[in-house]
């Protein structure tokens, strides 16, 4: 057995935090749910519409105070109920901590967030909060869609891996907003390019300083995840080299950015917004040199996204000491038996993961000791049959292929 496997077995749930008990009341389909999660893999099984995604959403809600699919309070609360609540016991190195989120569409002050009974403004920067890495079928737009989402994703990663870059990111967005507002007003006032240039100059310099800093931080983050994503892609059986590369628009030298902005004054004035800068960056995902966005099959795109999430989890674990909890919704569809077995093997190696499937049989090793099973019975609205324990040594991925 490989050293990695043994390591994972002696450190159940990876190095850091995982969810223990998850309790849900009057959220989505659930009147009540009470689930004890193991530190490793938990399979959430049930027919279409049973409430599997809802359960993952509740776990995410309890730990972040947010939904992972832009949901209003009214959407989240079970139809017919007035208010709902999701809470999770988070197991940390210094003992358990209870995160709880109350949702009441009627409440004027929004969701009620608590940690161990104490109200808090936000859960997001709480030190015991487990990070969550989410795969949803509609997150496929991350590899299929335009650059905006990949940029946002890269910036989220940046916030985790390089928290010190947060001020620069904020400063960039603020400077961009200000410069665009100025362009709009200069245009409306019909100010000539030369005169406008004078007014733009301090904003060009402010924007350039932040833009250059942001570009550097993004490049370093993309470089940091590249090797891990590459490794994970190969392990997932994605043929050919998967390469993540950052495609910046702006220079990392503020002086050069200032010059590039000045060159575009006329065009910027005409259209009333800033054309040059990291707000137009992209993160390219290529396989053997070809953009996966345009040339990947469904399964390949799915595997690429999974490789990205797994690779990022590795890097986050290394950087912060704790591995994000993986919430993988409907991840098995479009994958062949071999790829499924590989994926399950990898997620059982380390860390906590919740995986939804319509039939438990689609997850190789679902019946194994140490793998939790949550049967979501449609209509009952109460979660039944929960089996969870410490994760056993992960079986070699290909042996388990059905």
């Amino acid at each position: 057995m490989a050293a990695v496997d043994r390591g994972a077995a002696t450190r159940p749930g990876g190095h850091g935090l995982h969810l223990g008990r998850l309790r849900v009341r009057d959220v989505r389909t659930y009147v009540e749910a009470d689930v004890e999660l193991g530190p490793g893999l938990t399979v959430v099984a049930g027919p279409n519409g049973a409430g599997k995604t809802n359960l993952l959403e509740a776990a995410y809600l309890a730990c972040t105070g947010r939904s992972f699919r832009q949901a209003s309070d009214a959407d989240l609360v079970r139809r017919g109920a007035e208010a709902g609540n999701a809470s999770a016991t988070v197991v940390t190195r210094s003992g358990p901590s209870v995160f709880s989120v109350g949702v009441d569409p009627q409440a004027p002050r929004g969701r009620r967030l608590r940690v161990d009974g104490t109200p808090v403004e936000t859960l997001l920067d709480h030190p015991s909060r487990p990070r969550m890495s989410v795969f949803l079928p509609d997150r496929m737009v991350l590899v299929k869609g335009g650059p905006a989402l990949r940029r946002a994703h890269l910036d989220q990663l940046l916030a985790v891996l390089r928290p010190s870059s947060s001020p620069v990111r904020r400063a960039f967005h603020e400077a961009l907003r200000q410069r665009n507002a100025l362009l709009g007003s200069l245009k409306a006032r019909g100010v000539g390019v030369e005169r406008a240039g004078q007014e733009l100059q301090p904003w060009d310099a402010t924007l350039a300083a932040a833009a250059a800093g942001l570009t550097t931080a993004r490049r370093e983050t993309a470089e940091a995840i590249r090797p891990a994503v590459n490794v994970r892609a190969a392990q997932l059986g994605l043929a050919g080299e998967l390469e993540i590369s950052y495609r910046p628009r702006a220079s990392e030298d503020p002086e050069e950015v200032v010059a590039a902005l000045a060159e575009r004054h006329a065009g910027d004035l005409e259209r009333g917004f800033t054309h040059h800068g990291p707000h137009r960056d992209d993160l390219a995902v290529r396989r053997d040199g070809r953009l996966i966005t345009r040339f990947g099959s469904q399964g390949e795109q799915r595997l690429s996204l999974l490789a990205l999430l797994l690779g990022e989890a590795d890097v986050m674990e290394e950087a912060t000491g704790s591995r994000p909890v993986l919430l993988l919704d409907d991840v098995m569809s479009e994958l062949d038996a071999d790829r499924r077995a590989r994926l399950v093997g990898l997620i059982r190696e380390r860390g906590q993961a919740l995986v939804t499937v319509t039939e438990a049989g689609h997850v190789p090793g679902a019946g194994d000791e140490g793998v939790g099973l949550v049967d979501v019975v449609p209509g009952s609205a109460v979660v039944a049959r929960v089996a969870a324990g410490a994760p056993a040594d992960a079986p070699p991925a290909d042996e388990d292929a059905a």
Partner: protein
């Protein structure tokens, strides 16, 4: 529902910065529980502060009368100007005891998003002060240097301007704007920016004295 006068006071308190509806309620009950004189004293203080405090004619800091205490103080060096965004930013600089010059209060910072452009700030006044120096204070008894009937008879000219706008995006852009303008209009004047011992995105008002003192010592030319 509470009696209307109570509602009115709660509403008035809630408009204060940092006061939520609950605190406003508590303050209102507190006022009610105290003797009449206390309420009257508070009301008088509120009205007086608005009636008696205006803007300094020289630096636009808060002043009781024509000039603020700093502009009236003969020991303050009139050749040195510190540019700040608001009157609230003067106090923290004063507390460092590092600075012996005068101030210039801009009345804000450039912010196109809020429609604040160069003409909405006391910038022309700043450039004029730098170019011509501050008018002498007749109350100080020295009288006008040249008795030609104008008030801007010119004191000693400014040799250095320290731009202490907040280290926010707006504050930075304002500092750059001032730096560029002064380089053109008064190239002989040294213009410096507070070194950022200040955390990025922090307001001057909330900076502690030690960091601010250090920032003053390490100011850089812009």
């Amino acid at each position: 529902m509470q009696p209307a006068p109570i509602e009115r006071l709660v509403a008035a308190f809630s408009r204060l910065p940092g006061v939520g509806p609950r605190t406003a309620q508590r303050l209102t009950y507190h006022v009610l529980s105290r003797p009449d004189e206390d309420a009257r004293a508070l009301a008088t203080a509120l009205i007086e502060v608005k009636e008696l405090i205006g803007e300094c004619r020289i630096c636009f800091n808060l002043a009781e009368g024509e000039r603020c205490v700093i502009c009236e103080d003969p020991r303050r060096d009139p050749t040195l100007l510190c540019v700040v965004e608001t009157p609230a930013d003067v106090l923290p600089v004063e507390r460092t005891h590092e600075y012996r010059g005068r101030y210039h209060v801009l009345g804000g910072a450039l912010s196109p998003v809020d429609g604040v452009g160069p003409r909405d700030l006391r910038l022309e006044e700043l450039y004029r002060r730098v170019l011509e120096g501050d008018p002498d204070d007749p109350a100080r008894g020295s009288g006008p240097l040249v008795d030609d009937g104008t008030t801007s008879s010119g004191g000693p000219t400014v040799t250095e301007v320290v731009v202490a706008t907040n280290p926010t995006t707006s504050g930075e852009a304002t500092a750059l704007h001032i730096g560029a303008e002064l380089r053109e209009r008064s190239p002989q004047v040294r213009v410096s920016r507070l070194a950022s011992g200040l955390p990025v995105g922090a307001d001057l008002e909330h900076a502690d004295e030690v960091t601010l003192g250090r920032a003053f010592a390490g100011r850089r030319t812009i």
